[in-house]
Symmetry: C2
């Protein structure tokens, strides 16, 4: 369930865990220990994490399992894969689970990715405009992705 309006607190770990179990079950996948550790790692990250960052935070996850299980989790709608201009991907918990539609600030110098949210009014304006553009081009809109490229505090 969505949190009450105005409540920006994160869904509790336990609730997220239950939701993950449901999502995995829906695609006939088990919620194994390795997958639980991945979800935990992503919950703790401040922004989307790279494979290396995940490896670093949890020594017990072999690389091949990280890749395979992130693919499974993405298929189940538990995580989202994020591609920037760096040559490796990043992963974060799906918005469905965090209940926060958000966007990314990307530092073009060091590659760090930070989450941020837009005002609801702006989001709505945007969605309308995108729906119009999609219609003109014969596209069926599913989602949008908005990144701000710039320099982070440390790279000015």
């Amino acid at each position: 369930m969505a949190p009450a309006a105005g409540n920006v607190a994160h869904m509790s770990e336990a609730v997220i865990d239950d939701e993950v179990a449901v999502l995995l079950d829906a695609v006939d996948q088990r919620y194994t220990t390795g997958r639980r550790r991945l979800v935990a790692a992503l919950q703790e990250g401040v922004g989307p994490l790279t494979i290396n960052e995940i490896s670093a935070t949890d020594e017990n996850l072999p690389q091949s399992s990280i890749y395979r299980n992130l693919a499974v989790l993405e298929e189940a709608g538990v995580v989202t894969r994020i591609v920037t201009n760096d040559d490796f991907a990043r992963y974060e918990l799906a918005e469905k689970l965090t209940a926060h539609h958000h966007h990314h600030l990307i530092c073009t110098a060091c590659g760090i990715v930070v989450d941020f949210e837009l005002d609801g009014r702006v989001e709505r304006t945007l969605d309308q405009a995108l729906a119009g553009a999609a219609k003109e081009a014969g596209f069926t809109p599913m989602d949008h992705r908005l990144d701000l490229l710039g320099l982070c505090r440390d790279c000015q």
Copy 2:
């Protein structure tokens, strides 16, 4: 120079060519035949092109030169590298040259990328909102990137 307000016609090939020469000169690079062919190929593409698409349209461009010269052209600000969820990059002429700030419709099924433009009013609203978010996070905003993900006409 930017075209007159309301004029959405493309900058002529000759003008673009001159501008490319200037941009390359600014970073001490020559405007060679191979680089001219790349610019021509990108001008003809309906959207951002992959390396393979460029190879296909111009048989006289060896792959290693395509990669090397696209990197040079990107460095000079002539082309923009676009990364989607496919595992290969796409390139298009920089907005500086086409004089059209635009965004992308990306088909999540077949990967095709199509350009579209947003209403100026929406762009301004967006820029304001992004500037605010950037300030809060200590970022210096440079540019934004907005994609609509969905299904193209052929993949519905």
